[in-house]
């Protein structure tokens, strides 16, 4: 199966929601940013998928650590770290931003929260962006402070998220626009609430900076959520693959550049902004990427989890690799994300997938997200 035992210690940090997820019978964990990510509850992944698309869920995503950059050069350093143009970013905005090194290689894909003109939080995927930022700051003698604040995101996802959040925070939550945040009052303290999250079902992320109040926050949302059939959950693999949501470390890593990750819209390469890796990305742009992240649908019985990339072949020749795969009850087929080489990434291209159980499955390349393009 896809799970095996995790030994715990101080090094792999618990979150403030530990007692809550345990009381709901959490059965599996992953590890992200030296922190546990609760992954399995009493529902199967498929039951969880249908629930997430219909109701509302509460997720412990405390592993989404923040890298706080503040000070005189904070805006300069943050812009140096991403090809995304931050020039017109406004306070209160969230920005999905690829981060690349001097060769244009992906280091992370955080959401940047602009807290002030001179203060940014990078809400990171699984790599120590703090060390990259600090290395640059020390090396360039920038006037910034960089630290990991004691902040523990909690996520509310699903179509009934607004109804639930209104009950706890008031009507104001409905005024939060997509990828914007507001500071709202909870009991006797403030909390940053963003309309964002790692699903395509709508929802919010709450940036709790009072870990001792984690259980109180969870409980308030849980109690208010009863009438909306709330369930504990976690990023759902089926929903994420259908929605084309990428995972750093799975779909891409330091061997990839943002253009092959289909992040063109977040890469301002016209020379109007200065960032590390710009010349490298312009060079790649000139010829175009050699591979691209795409969807793949393939047949046969329910596939095992993808622990290491599976070869994708066309006419017996390897033309790509699957990086994440799972059975989709909606497509009644296996669905996957993967990299396809240049002449083989067109939607409809027929391929075969070498699954790690030894089977060879017939499949087809799809656009991303799958759910819009393949079922209408």
């Amino acid at each position: 199966m896809s799970t095996t035992k995790l030994n715990v210690s101080r090094r792999i940090r618990a979150t403030p929601y530990k007692s809550c997820v345990e009381s709901h019978g959490v059965s599996g964990y992953s590890v992200v940013n030296h922190t546990v990510l609760p992954k399995g509850f009493r529902k199967t992944v498929e039951e969880d998928y249908w629930h997430l698309k219909k109701y509302v869920q509460i997720w412990d995503v405390g592993c989404q650590r923040q890298v706080a950059i503040s000070g005189h050069d904070a805006a300069k350093l943050t812009q140096l770290m991403t090809p995304r143009d931050l020039t017109n970013a406004t306070v209160g905005q969230c920005l999905y931003a690829p981060m690349v090194d001097e060769a244009g290689r992906m280091l992370n894909d955080p959401i940047i929260l602009k807290l002030a003109e001179d203060c940014f939080w990078l809400s990171i995927a699984d790599s120590d962006v703090l060390l990259w930022a600090k290395g640059l700051a020390v090396g360039m003698q920038l006037d910034v402070q960089i630290h990991e604040p004691d902040v523990w995101p909690l996520s509310i996802q699903g179509p009934l998220s607004d109804d639930l959040m209104e009950k706890v925070f008031g009507r104001v939550v409905r005024d939060i626009r997509f990828f914007r945040f507001k500071t709202l009052r909870f009991e006797d303290f403030d909390i940053i609430v963003a309309r964002s999250g790692y699903s395509k079902q709508g929802g919010f992320e709450l940036y709790l900076d009072k870990p001792e109040r984690g259980a109180a926050l969870w409980d308030a949302l849980w109690t208010a959520g009863q009438e909306f059939n709330i369930s504990p959950g976690s990023p759902n693999l089926i929903e994420r693959v259908e929605g084309g949501l990428l995972s750093y470390g799975n779909e891409m890593n330091m061997e990839n550049n943002p253009l092959e990750c289909a992040m063109d819209q977040y890469c301002q390469l016209d020379g109007s902004i200065d960032f590390i890796g710009r010349e490298a990305l312009r060079l790649i742009q000139r010829t175009g990427p050699q591979q691209l992240i795409r969807g793949v649908i393939f047949n046969g019985e329910k596939c095992p989890p993808c622990q290491s990339p599976w070869p994708i072949l066309r006419d017996g020749v390897m033309v790509g690799q699957v990086t994440t795969a799972i059975w989709s009850p909606r497509f009644e087929n296996n669905i996957a994300l993967g990299m396809l080489e240049r002449n083989h990434w067109q939607a409809g291209t027929e391929v075969t997938v070498q699954v790690e159980d030894g089977s060879i499955r017939n499949g087809m390349v799809t656009d991303l997200p799958m759910i819009d393009h393949c079922t209408g």
Copy 2:
């Protein structure tokens, strides 16, 4: 218990020894450097402890990733990253080295392998040192290449290590001095073999750079080890605590400096070398550290694993915290590593420990390593 389920994916990397540890019935994992660390086999931790002290074990420590720094400025950058004086380091030497930031805070504690005058491998603990090194190099415009090579350490530990290694590599292994390495021949390829490892029982670390030959290497050692009663294993918590071996993320993290981690001997603060954080460490040295890593022995039944620090009290006042604890069959008591405040770290100081099961235990501060000082 100390284990819970781990969900696997590409992001948490398997090692080349996966099939080997699975065939031996691995039952638990930790995650280090985005890579699995197999932790549990058929023996209990106590059975494993006695075995390690008497025979020989083979450990999959592929999670000890390498940060390779090479090029014209490689020696300069490597020295900038550590307070340890590398001036007289020789090719073929391994050097345990604290790594600190501009404020003297611990970022990692790798073993540095000097492969050539202009080539170093940092064999790292659990943080992305690669990003710190790259950030500094980009920021300072240094002439270096930095990458993570496809190298997967395998460890042979225990008093019969020399006997086993001689059978596979020949008599030459006995000539490898402590914390030195040689390049040895295995079948048709070369492999770096160091006399080092994360135990006090003696042994070797093999830096395999041909992952496709991982099973062959494991099998050769396993077969040769039969007459020495070889067993699969992993860093043993009892042996490590008794031996005073620290774990980055457990005993120390970015909140600590190397002086309070008892790493004075690895900190050259006289101004003869230039490294990041030097002035900060000199300032700390002037007044002396405010706390120190020490051993603690405490009574009562077998303690649970330490998932978050446990308060250490003296006369009802908090004077430190336990970060790792386990029952020692040798001491017939619980043993721990932890930080003690300045006026309370003397060996023999009587304290109480607030264990996370709610119990309060009577204990005593000890020197490190425990095994030399407390039982002779």
